[in-house]
């Protein structure tokens, strides 16, 4: 039986899809079977980030409504052969998802994969609540800025009340992934510090992903950063986060002290 993870944040643009792809790829590279599932019906992106946009034939809605079976809809990654994508439908909207349909697809995925990673849409409406509904644990993505942190706090509240795990009284496991962390700006006090964010959200930290050009470059070429540029700091942070998910105690590297070094490092690479 696999583990169902939801990647969620409330706010848009904080890195849910990028993180889903990067963590999915990092887990798959260890040989585990991973399915990444796009729940953003109508605004799908995960296929682009995974570089599979031209291979989508059937999507989540087709499977949920019984028009296709799961094997037809799952797209195997060309680089990591234990990594699969279930794309969202771009032409439908989120009302096309039903609770029963989602449950059936998730149950089937859970049987076939070690990890099922659900990329939640932004917001707190139907799409987001369905994405988290059947999850065993959640990765809450936040940027170190107040609006993102507040939205994440709202999402944690929903995770604690609207998921099946929460309703059964078991409680849902939650991890914080702090993305787009810019050590230089944090040092100048232009961003919330890691401590501030942890203090407000009070859930365990899974990792800190530094703001990096490599993430953007990887997205543009349609490859998760953890496959495309494995030597970058962002990729290393995602790989560490994935190992922590598997229960490996990896020490947390906080990019705060190495401000100038990071600056020079990235400065050279970008040039």
């Amino acid at each position: 039986m696999g583990k169902v993870l939801v990647v969620t944040s409330g706010k848009g643009g904080v890195g849910k899809t990028t993180s889903t792809a990067a963590i999915g790829a990092a887990l798959a590279q260890t040989g585990q079977k991973v399915a990444v599932v796009d729940f953003d019906v109508g605004l799908r992106n995960l296929d682009l980030i995974m570089g599979a946009e031209r291979r989508v034939v059937f999507d989540f809605i087709n499977v949920a409504q019984g028009d296709a079976n799961l094997s037809q809809a799952l797209i195997r990654d060309k680089r990591v052969d234990t990594l699969y994508l279930l794309a969202a439908s771009q032409t439908r909207d989120k009302d096309a998802l039903t609770e029963e349909g989602v449950k059936r697809v998730i149950d089937e995925l859970r049987d076939r994969f070690d990890w099922v990673i659900c990329d939640s849409p932004a917001g707190i409406e139907r799409g987001a609540t369905l994405a988290m509904r059947y999850a065993d644990s959640a990765i809450v993505i936040a940027n170190p800025e107040v609006s993102s942190v507040r939205d994440s706090d709202r999402i944690i509240g929903l995770l604690d009340s609207k998921t099946l795990k929460a309703e059964s009284g078991e409680g849902i496991e939650k991890h914080l992934l702090l993305t787009r962390y810019d050590p230089a700006r944090a040092a100048r006090g232009e961003m919330l510090s890691v401590e501030d964010v942890l203090d407000i959200l009070s859930i365990p930290l899974l990792g800190i992903i530094p703001e990096s050009q490599d993430v953007l470059k990887a997205s543009n070429v349609g490859a998760p950063v953890s496959i495309n540029s494995t030597t970058s700091a962002a990729a290393a942070a995602y790989i560490d986060a994935a190992r922590r998910l598997c229960g490996v105690p990896v020490p947390m590297t906080r990019p705060t002290e190495k401000v100038s070094m990071f600056g020079r490092f990235f400065g050279r690479r970008a040039a």
Binding site: I124, V146, R150, D151, D153, R154, I156, G157, L158, D160, D199, I200, S202
Partner: protein
């Protein structure tokens, strides 16, 4: 003979709070003080009836009746008598009460309206002890919240206090009929005494609230003294204004 189903009589439990008036010896002098005080607060007893506490007076029946008569002349309505001798009971006398429980506001400095009235006598040791209020109901049913209150969540206790061991996030809301205690940071909204209680207070370990309100009077975070930000503090009403003070 027809059999009729017996209908049970229903009783409901309900708590009220009442003031207790405890006269002191010598009674003549106490009555003079009461007269002087009534001159300044003439309508007080038309709004508040009292329980008469005679435990410390060592009265006999005649003395008790004289005391009651004296109070009646001053239009003090006696709801019941505490500490009296059961032999004194009579159909035209107030009922005798079992011992009540004192409820006091935690801070003796509180200027509740009742204490404000008594205030003139406060320096004198023999001032009538109008053991004031607080709200017995409030102590009866606090709501304990052991998890952080997240943005968008709302916590409501229409009967009493709310006690939160974690933080209250920005965008969260806590509403209580009584006081609100937050043993973490208060970053959202807190509304104490929301059903009308000017003695309600808000306590928190770190004041970062978006809005605090007591008995319908509110302050937004802009109006809260910046010096108190992120400090342990309490908010209460004083002279119809919200007063926020720091704990040292």
């Amino acid at each position: 003979m027809s059999v009729r189903p017996t209908q049970a009589i229903r009783f409901k439990g309900r708590s009220y709070f009442s003031l207790t008036l405890a006269p002191e010896l010598p009674l003549a002098e106490w009555q003079n003080r009461l007269d002087a005080w009534l001159e300044r607060s003439p309508g007080f007893f038309s709004r508040n009836s009292v329980i008469l506490d005679v435990r410390d007076l060592a009265l006999d029946k005649d003395g008790f009746l004289t005391l009651l008569e004296g109070l009646r002349e001053r239009a003090v309505r006696v709801l019941g008598v505490e500490g009296g001798n059961a032999d004194w009971a009579g159909p035209d006398l107030p009922p005798f009460m079992p011992s009540g429980k004192d409820v006091r506001t935690p801070d003796s400095e509180t200027e509740t309206p009742v204490e404000a009235c008594v205030g003139a006598n406060r320096d004198e040791a023999q001032a009538p002890t109008l053991a004031t209020t607080g709200n017995a109901i409030r102590h009866a049913s606090p709501l304990f919240i052991d998890s952080p209150v997240r943005s968008g969540q709302s916590v409501l206790n229409p009967d009493g206090d709310v006690i939160i061991t974690g933080a209250v996030a920005s965008g969260a809301e806590v509403v209580a009929a009584g006081s609100i205690h937050v043993y973490g940071a208060l970053r959202g909204r807190a509304m104490a005494g929301a059903y009308g209680d000017e003695t309600a207070r808000i306590f928190c370990r770190s004041l970062e609230a978006e809005l605090i309100a007591v008995n319908g009077l509110y302050q937004t975070s802009d109006e809260i003294d910046p010096a108190l930000r992120k400090k342990p503090a309490q908010a209460r009403l004083k002279h119809g204004m919200i007063l926020v003070t720091k704990f040292d």
